[in-house]
């Protein structure tokens, strides 16, 4: 059984706002019965203030789909439509105290139903902009379609490329065989052949020159800052951020902020940052949450 949070169970066993809203003036439907989950969101919106007075859901789906629907209706009630449009799937997952990576798509579905309902109210056409494939990387919740698109768009050739561009494969590495299979398939479609030893594709971040030889502590701190700066856009895209707090010897203490703070992926992200630092700096660097610093009895001695 999935390791669902208590909050997910609470919303599943006692869903809020189940059923269609009577006199609804906005309806959003996403999913389908073939996919195994389908969600209909109905809203009653006040025409003058555009405040969502009532929200109701009808969901065919698993425990987390029902919980995501339930918590979504709770979040948006009382919001204006513009405020509601700012609700992200991460907000839904956070309210549920996290979802297993395989189940994050349930929160995405919630956000999409909301967007569809608001588009419906405003008489606009809402287009879904993502397609979902089989989950490949469980550490970072990256699916096959996403990887395929990135391989096509950026002419990626190796597993390392895929990890650099999508994060997929950057955690436990168990999915590398699956990523190779995707590369084989896409490269075959392009008339090329997959070669595991191919030179990596350069990513903008690669422009940071790798350094040779031992570093002074000052050089090390500057370099770490530089690498964190280059990773920042990717983190911010997920609503998070990172700041360097202290460097002691080969250990960098960082604070994960924004959506990264308390995110169940934070540990994996830290592992990814550490990997990147080691690649660029050519030496062993340990990245540790700043909260661990308190455990050092005496910083000087450490």
């Amino acid at each position: 059984m999935w390791d669902y949070s208590d909050k997910v169970k609470e919303h599943f066993f006692n869903p809020k706002n189940a059923g269609a809203v009577v006199d609804a003036n906005a309806t959003g439907e996403v999913g389908s019965i073939s996919c195994g989950d389908a969600l209909r969101l109905t809203l009653k919106v006040d025409d003058d203030s555009e405040i969502i007075l009532e929200a109701g859901f009808q969901t065919f789906g698993c425990g987390s789909a029902i919980a995501s629907s339930s918590v979504l209706t709770e979040i948006i009630k009382g919001m204006t439509l513009d405020e509601a449009l700012k609700v992200t799937n991460q907000d839904i997952a956070d309210q549920l105290e996290g979802l297993p990576p395989e189940k994050m798509h349930c929160s995405v579905m919630g956000r999409e139903a909301l967007q569809a309902a608001i588009a419906n109210y405003r008489g606009e056409e809402w287009k879904d902009d993502h397609e979902e494939g089989a989950l490949i990387c469980k550490c970072f919740a990256i699916d096959a379609v996403m990887i395929e698109e990135m391989v096509w768009a950026n002419k990626l050739r190796t597993v390392e490329d895929v990890t650099n561009f999508t994060k997929a494969g950057g955690g436990c590495a168990a999915c590398h065989e699956d990523i190779e299979a995707i590369l084989e398939k896409v490269l075959a479609e392009k008339g090329e052949k997959f070669d595991p030893g191919a030179a990596p594709v350069k990513k903008p971040a690669e422009t940071i020159a790798a350094v040779k030889g031992p570093l002074t502590n000052l050089q090390r701190i500057k370099k770490i800052e530089e690498v964190l700066e280059s990773l920042r856009p990717a983190l911010m895209a997920d609503g998070g951020d990172v700041e360097l707090v202290e460097v002691i010897g080969n250990t960098a203490y960082v604070n994960m902020t924004g959506a990264c703070n308390g995110c169940q992926m934070a540990a994996m992200t830290i592992a990814g940052i550490q990997q990147r630092l080691m690649e660029v700096m050519g030496e062993f660097i340990k990245v540790v949450p700043a909260s661990e610093m308190a455990k050092l009895v005496n910083i000087e001695v450490a």
Partner: protein
């Protein structure tokens, strides 16, 4: 009432009598069976007895046809890889669309290496067509691998007949019998089955022990090479405690086989009747008239399996589902898709699988709670309204995308 376990096709409780015979092999007779001292001198005898107990349950002609492995998956992999290594010129494999992933994933992998895999389709009741199978048999086929009974629906395949057909065409025949062994009687010496896989934890032995039955004279290449254990056919120090436990479990299964087919079957039938009579828009999947006595798989339309399992779990009832969401994939079970069960139902299938430890009182409890669970979820479903499904559920729901 304590919790009710109806997930015996997933795994079973170890019989206390099995635990009892195992314990001395941890604490006293823990010597390596290959050693010559008193810590080991009873082990070889224990292994021999276990081999004979397994032999008796499956009706093998010789006890040396029993090879102990670590699990059903290892037995399956050993069988198929052995057949293709022993016959390098044969590049085709015949199997079915509804096999366990232990076979299907391996075949998919071999397909990438250039093997042609023939996957026999099933009809809506999960049955194979033997004339299509007959046409595929040729001297190009290295091995046929067909499960004895399906893990999701319990549907039994005519493996004895299929093995005869393969044998007549000079093709090796393997069956994954992990669900069937101990639930239906078998006498392998009267068949043309060359290899058979079984798994201890499906019949009240511990996890981590399995058997590959290998008919004497069948050409064979080991998967694990190393020491002389299992006559060089499966190297690695014997898991003596578990082997002895499996032997005991096989003896018990043989004693209980009549109970399984009368009392256990009666519980299964009562559950099925109680549920389908009370709840509308649900149906039993698989071949109703040719199934394992302990298994029923019921599709509840317009609701999703994982949700049902969570509510069952809350009521203290353990079962399992072929729903996509329980596995983390997007597609419902390949078995349901192969039987062409409509999507409106395939996501809502629940498998109840019994053992001799279940009771009729437990069955009545499940029958009591099931209607409420289904009603609760249908009330939330966009495909359901009031007392029945919305008209044309596939069309009624008009998402912006699908």
């Amino acid at each position: 009432m304590t919790d009710i376990y109806l997930d015996n096709n997933a795994t079973t409780k170890v019989d206390p009598a099995v635990v009892d015979v195992m314990i001395p092999y941890f604490l006293e007779q823990y010597g390596n069976p290959s050693s010559i001292h008193k810590f080991a001198d009873g082990v070889a005898r224990g292994l021999k007895q276990a081999r004979q107990q397994v032999q008796a349950l499956i009706g093998a002609e010789h006890d040396s046809e029993i090879i102990f492995t670590s699990c059903g998956t290892e037995s399956n992999s050993t069988a198929i890889l052995s057949a293709i290594k022993a016959q390098p010129n044969k590049k085709e494999i015949i199997t079915t669309t509804v096999e366990h992933p232990a076979i299907l994933s391996l075949c998919e992998h071999l397909e990438k290496e250039g093997y042609t895999i023939h996957r026999l389709p099933v009809d809506k009741a999960g049955r194979l067509k033997l004339d299509a199978y007959q046409r595929l048999l040729s001297d190009q086929v290295a091995i046929v691998s067909v499960m004895w009974a399906n893990n999701e629906t319990g549907t039994i395949f005519p493996v004895a007949e299929m093995a005869e057909m393969a044998n007549a065409a000079g093709v090796m025949f393997h069956t994954d019998a992990v669900q069937a062994v101990g639930k239906i009687p078998m006498m392998l010496q009267d068949t043309k089955i060359d290899m058979l896989s079984l798994s201890g934890h499906k019949l009240h032995a511990p996890k981590g022990i399995g058997v590959l039955y290998l008919r004497r004279g069948t050409r064979y290449r080991p998967l694990l090479r190393g020491g002389h254990q299992e006559r060089g056919r499966r190297a690695g120090t014997e898991n003596s405690a578990s082997i002895v436990g499996l032997g005991k479990a096989c003896e018990l299964a043989q004693n209980f086989i009549e109970y399984e087919n009368i009392q256990v079957k009666a519980m299964r039938d009562r559950l099925e009747q109680g549920i389908t009579e009370q709840i509308g828009h649900c149906f039993v999947t698989g071949d109703m008239y040719n199934r394992l006595p302990n298994t029923t798989d019921i599709a509840f339309e317009y609701i999703e399996g994982e949700s049902i399992l969570m509510l069952l779990n809350k009521a203290g009832i353990a079962a399992s589902s072929g729903s996509a969401c329980t596995s983390g994939s997007l597609e419902p079970s390949h078995v349901m898709r192969a039987m062409d069960i409509p999507y409106t139902a395939a996501h809502g299938t629940i498998r109840f699988s019994f053992s001799r430890y279940n009771t009729m009182a437990e069955v009545e409890k499940v029958i009591e709670v099931m209607p409420g669970i289904v009603a609760t979820l249908r009330k939330l479903s966009p495909y359901w309204s009031g007392d029945g499904p919305v008209a044309n559920p596939e069309q009624a729901f008009a998402p912006t995308y699908a």
